[in-house]
Symmetry: D2
Subunit: 306 residues, 4 copies
Amino acid sequence: MPTILGQNQYGKAENRVVKITRDGGTHHIKDLNVSVALSGDLDEVHYSGSNAHVLPTDTTKNTVFAFAKEQGIESAEQFGIALARHFVDSTEPITTARIRIEEYAWDRIGTSDGETRAAHSFVRNGGETRTAQITYDGGRLQVLSGLKGLTVLNSTDSEFWGYIKDKYTTLKEDYDRILATEVSAVWRHNWSGEERGAPAPDWQESYEETRKLMLRAFAGTYSLSLQQTLYQMGSQVIDGRPELEEIRFSMPNKHHFKVDLEPFGLKNEAADGAVYIAADRPYGLIEATVLRDGAEARIPLDMTNL
Amino acid sequence: MPTILGQNQYGKAENRVVKITRDGGTHHIKDLNVSVALSGDLDEVHYSGSNAHVLPTDTTKNTVFAFAKEQGIESAEQFGIALARHFVDSTEPITTARIRIEEYAWDRIGTSDGETRAAHSFVRNGGETRTAQITYDGGRLQVLSGLKGLTVLNSTDSEFWGYIKDKYTTLKEDYDRILATEVSAVWRHNWSGEERGAPAPDWQESYEETRKLMLRAFAGTYSLSLQQTLYQMGSQVIDGRPELEEIRFSMPNKHHFKVDLEPFGLKNEAADGAVYIAADRPYGLIEATVLRDGAEARIPLDMTNL
Amino acid sequence: MPTILGQNQYGKAENRVVKITRDGGTHHIKDLNVSVALSGDLDEVHYSGSNAHVLPTDTTKNTVFAFAKEQGIESAEQFGIALARHFVDSTEPITTARIRIEEYAWDRIGTSDGETRAAHSFVRNGGETRTAQITYDGGRLQVLSGLKGLTVLNSTDSEFWGYIKDKYTTLKEDYDRILATEVSAVWRHNWSGEERGAPAPDWQESYEETRKLMLRAFAGTYSLSLQQTLYQMGSQVIDGRPELEEIRFSMPNKHHFKVDLEPFGLKNEAADGAVYIAADRPYGLIEATVLRDGAEARIPLDMTNL
Amino acid sequence: MPTILGQNQYGKAENRVVKITRDGGTHHIKDLNVSVALSGDLDEVHYSGSNAHVLPTDTTKNTVFAFAKEQGIESAEQFGIALARHFVDSTEPITTARIRIEEYAWDRIGTSDGETRAAHSFVRNGGETRTAQITYDGGRLQVLSGLKGLTVLNSTDSEFWGYIKDKYTTLKEDYDRILATEVSAVWRHNWSGEERGAPAPDWQESYEETRKLMLRAFAGTYSLSLQQTLYQMGSQVIDGRPELEEIRFSMPNKHHFKVDLEPFGLKNEAADGAVYIAADRPYGLIEATVLRDGAEARIPLDMTNL
């Protein structure tokens, strides 16, 4: 046979599970998009179509919803760990499970001009999407947390100059520009679930503090390049969160070009408060990993398809 | 000639204008998407291709950016009014201008665990998009404000029963369901810019209070149908905001179906905190106008293409 | 009561119905997205939440799928007519029904280098989406057919000059430019189902010929403005298709800007075959109706939300 | 320093370049979306913000457009190779360049009912998007060709049964179902540009024949699982195209569920031509690589983010 099967995986993607928890009249909501990918002894289904080793993707869907009821959803990470362990531990031919989760945040609706908040009425917080990826191979767990769609902008304290000029370079140096990006980031926890007595991180606190460190580094860096800002964001996260080993960013440079208003007799200087056009395409795209010294890089490089 | 020209309009759509205003070291940001549509004495360009009456769409784009500098952007409504008046008043063949604006909100990045906020660093607030539409015919102004993408959910206090049952009806009555929708709304101000001495509304306050009234009506209505909730939202807005004449809603019913977990020996009752699947398509779609008694309905009916 | 209810409608949107018809081993496929909107005596559901006059949107969904089986889908128009009549004629409080349909085309997969085509294997034709809208008020039918997403481009035979120049005009006149647009069009049939003995149009032939006339008018018009091209497309359709009364277009000007390559010592003239950048936003947007002389304009103006 | 920099790359993404070639009155069009990613000696820009080793992303954009003029675009692969070589060979600190390209196809507009085709008027072929990825490290070239958005459907000759049943399994076995998927595929050429006298493949022919082999394998496989169909598609490609070493697929199972019409007294059997609902989410997702025996797997595993 001149062809063989390489890496393969299958599962049910984008299970949109919403769990309401009632605490008397006060409700809590968890809103996830869960994708399951399983690997293992699956050659035969490819070669002959025998499904003897195949747990149907429909079953993996049912499992997601049943687990939400049986075990609850404390966090995306905890939920993904429970699912990943289940698929590998309970299905003989499955040797690896990868669970990817997107989480959408909801805020309580304010019901007065004070701080009163509704007990069971929510408005979706349209900010960034929180992500998690849990991989389990029967021994170790790998937990990646992250976010995407976190759009940030500095309206000053950004410069860009001193770069290589070749025959195709026309860009003018800029000593006061807008720096804006839509952050996608994935960070890896050092906890693997294997060490005796090593408790899992507090996933919620870890997420909130990591997000805070990224935002503050973005705001606090006087930037000579988006790469520099990215590195500051990454190193301040790694410095500040001992539970993390590495972080990878994909950061498009959301260009805001100063509009040329001279033809209309108008000055348009950053220093006076300028008018910009927010451009769509093309855009700079900066991607990099920042690691704790000595750590191994394990986060996949491709966070985008472009 | 057996065919004639009917209603027509043209302009530049989706001008993405960002204006930074500097107040010492503190910056303010306005982030708009502005679309221009002009009508008038334009038969000839259709019949013969003569552009003698055509102000190029490129010029309308330039005007948007130049006005952002010359006049500033106090609000989407003020900015749209200035643009609409300009096109009609300064270009002979143009008799009507319609300006549509989307506005994206930004929050300041928090720089400490207290209340300290960055002076020129922002994170995009991913919530609803604010909208405005200004139409000017040389005399009256019509100002529609609105929003889209405001997603809300009540996890209880919603029932649905007592409906018509025909031969195609299989739906079970439900006495405790999730009610969720993504609100699109457009409301019309009674101010037309014509009355001597009648000041324009405070657009910012009007928007904020209208949004608040909608959210509170959504949270506060014990709902027997999404139509009832919609009407409560509309009538509480009209009651509470004397500057408004009518409001129109387009509200998809974002279905959250309770998952059948009985095959797995699990109960899944709303009262205990249930697991739902958030469905994509199809979805109920409820659209209606609510008016002040005696007002004329002028908001266009079609807010969606489906 | 200070507020009243205005126009309102409700129904199930985006029912994704696929019907396979078997003719021996040869299969045929119809792939539709059907949206139902019903109006009538529905005040009470808004005022008090009483659903006594409400046919559930879930029932309208069931009806769509059951009708696909009971009546088959000969064309989107025929299917929409059957549905619209059913809802009004069989449900007392419902007085108007509007059915909107998107249709996706599939081609048979070629199974040899000749003309042999698979009997039950299809590849989706990713071209334009065909649309239909049927409205029935218990008496007349109004049938709008149409399409969207038909992207066309002339690489020459397009000029733009002789326009108004005001103080914000910087655009250079152009005597050889690319003209590209993504056509959305809706056309109205004069058949209303009321005239005794007047047979319905052949919807399939009418669609194909109308599309052909539009494409040929686009290709065949030496264009001095996109408006002129639009009018030629409309008038050649109305001239050529006696069953149609009016047609409305929404045509964004998909700008292809010649890139300035002079800084690199390169000429970039249209006459030599030029390099263009395909721009996203902003874009010109041209909308107009073309009517048969004497016909009434009844197609809604808003085909887009920007 | 407790943190270090890992893998990193930067460049300009989504350069939308359109090239018209004139051959007398007959024009040809190439329509690409080109993304550049560069790696090399770039630590310093991350650590200190020094741009001394940075070729601006704006320059990479200019280079794309200038090369389209200087060298023309024979194919996406040839164009990507020229760009990749240029960036590495002409910019000292850059050691690796990766060029990703999407290509959009256009057909000539038919101008008569015969076979006459317009010389410079085109309609966009909305089918699949063709892709290419070229990586150059100063020595070897790696060329991946591919496509995405190729949606195919078999209306019979698909079964699914004999799978694992655990406590969460409710799926009924099916002996006549619709099999539909939206194919994303990437295949790797064995040509690396290093072998003396080894000519590059005919990229156009290679693409067309590979696509044909995939379609025919999809249509011709009586399927017991989507995995089996995938493997047949891959192995028939590898068997039929000696210039290829491996191919990777990402194939969502676009579920078409037979609608339960029994409540309405209707049978809905596949054998009679059934009615299906085309579901959105969740969906099965099948991914696998097929290789020539002895070849190394080098195509990245992640072709999707879910």
